[in-house]
Amino acid sequence: MTGLGYPEEVARPRMAFFTDTTVCIGCKACEVACKEWNDVPESLWELTGHSYDNTGHLSADAWRHVAFVEQPAHLAGAEVLAHTAAIDAHVDALADDGFRWLMMSDVCKHCTTAACLDNCPTGALFKTEFESVVVQADVCNGCGYCVVGCPYGVISRRESDGKAWKCTMCYDRLRTGDEPACAKTCPTDSINFGTLDAMRELAHGRLEQVVGLGYAGARLYGEADGDAAGVDGTGALFLLLDEPQVYGLPPAPVAATKHLKGEWAAALAAACTVAVALAGAFSGRPR
């Protein structure tokens, strides 16, 4: 044990969220629990007019965000609604109205190749022993380069103190063996938390189940061999019932740092071009 009473630093499995949107009821308890535990400032008086969503997007002041989609039949796909109605009498009424709800609790993806972390010039952002990505508030100088780096639009700068903030995967709770506040509080187990391997297994099992029930549009989001290839996988998997962009998620995000060499090569080529022009400028008339 160290002096702080933390367990010795040992190799740990990567920890991850699995958010199963099919059982999300849109109660926003995750948003509240997160704000309570992490002392995230409230944002009470903003009304977006976008269904029941008055949070709008993940940000420095919203580390969980519940998205609400009221989907008309022609967008959901008639076949999806027919399937849904066939397997669930309760949904039958909704299908008659030509309408369904999609709800999803969004969170930081804790990318394997995290653009926010790569971009951070101060080293304020770091990878923890759980392979989660965390900002050190006492180091961040608010340059904002992580904000433009994140391909999921997760991190932003807080107005009140000028520093960048985002989900820490409740780093303090993980260090004492507890699960993040959002997962702990979720009343329907829409938010699951555990090792990445366990979450992946859970997610694949649930996907098969849901597809077997007839949800044709169901898919996993956040896997390294799929949509998240551009960030080499994530620590936050989602089971979605429609395309990611319907929930406000990017369909195929890429960490810009993956192209860093090409960017510097272009800069070098440009510098050489200008150097040649400069050398050439001195041959010719003095005026």
Binding site: V274, F282, P286
Partner: protein, 310 residues
């Protein structure tokens, strides 16, 4: 498992739907938190960087009056850049945290170090030249400033390219040429305004080449961006881009015609080139805001990337 894989392929990847379904039309990305200091920094940093290179080249070729003018511009620009960079921070008092690590994955870290070498070198070279002291040290500082001056004018393009905003990131191969050309145009132009007329020749050719590179690279950038280039034709960024094209185009023409004794003509051209260079940086800066706010081009581009899955 194969069944699962099949379902996981995005629906609609085989028959792309005409309409893009976004989340209430809300942006997917965060807006850049940056303010006016950033594009001004891009402009002043580029101007100072290329002026340092021009000063060294002029001294090597024995055009001393041009070297003096360019050296002064480089030093004044170098003095202005750190305050601009610091003012934009959320916690300006923590500027020095930029220098607590050297981080090659972060163009902002690399850029901070480039600035940290460039600024003292450029200011030192000009200061020692004005005082007429320590000629060897002055020469060394000037050479260091010239080399890092190329870094100053180019790294800012990598800085904006290495982001999630498509109008910036997908232009990563062209932006350095736009910025470097723009910086060369501004440095040549500033030298023409300050140096005596009989030393204008090299500055004039340098500015012209820079202006043409800026215009050409900007056009190639827009063509390659395709649909993503929309911000350069609409709204605020579109206005700045149009202004940039007009100023740089007019400036290049005036400078091209303003050879020999037509000093007034080329000085008018120099003013236009400086304005064009500034507007170019402002257009790129504003384009990032518009590109981050519009989810649809981002969705279409990313879906196209996913689509070719057999």
């Amino acid at each position: 498992m194969s069944e699962v894989t099949e379902v996981r392929a995005p629906r609609g990847s085989m028959v792309p739907s005409a309409e893009v379904r976004s989340y209430h039309g809300r942006p997917i990305l965060q807006a850049p938190p940056w303010t006016w200091e950033v594009p001004v920094y891009f402009f002043v940093g580029g101007l100072a960087g290329m002026s340092a290179a021009l000063a060294e080249a002029a001294e090597r070729n024995g055009v001393d009056s041009l070297a003096t003018a360019a050296r002064r511009v480089a030093a004044l620009g170098a003095l202005a850049t750190p305050p601009l960079l610091i003012a934009d921070l959320g916690v300006p008092s923590r500027f020095l945290n930029m220098l607590r690590v050297v981080k090659p994955t972060s163009p902002l870290s690399v850029g901070s170090w480039i600035l940290s070498v460039f600024a003292p070198a450029a200011v030192g070279a000009a200061g020692l030249a004005e005082l007429g002291r320590a000629p060897r040290l002055r020469r060394l500082a000037q050479r260091v400033g010239a080399v890092f001056g190329f870094g100053m004018s180019g790294y800012t393009a990598v800085l904006v390219a290495n982001t999630a905003i498509p109008v910036w990131h997908e232009a990563r191969h062209e932006l350095p040429f736009v910025f470097s050309g723009s910086a060369a145009a501004s440095a040549g132009a500033a030298a023409m305004l300050l140096a005596p007329a009989e030393a204008h020749g090299p500055a004039r050719r340098f500015a012209l080449a820079g202006g043409l590179l800026e215009l050409g690279a900007e056009r190639v950038m827009e063509q390659r961006l395709g649909e993503l280039a929309e911000p350069y034709h609409e709204g605020d960024a579109g206005g700045w881009a149009r202004l940039a094209r007009r100023f740089t185009g007019a400036g290049a023409a005036l400078v091209a015609l303003g050879g020999g004794r037509r000093v007034l003509l080329r000085r008018a051209g120099a003013v236009c080139l400086l304005a064009g260079s500034f507007c170019t940086r402002w257009a790129v800066y504003r384009a990032g805001f518009q590109g981050a706010a519009d989810p649809e081009p981002l969705i279409r581009t990313q879906r196209a990337r996913l689509a070719p899955r057999p």
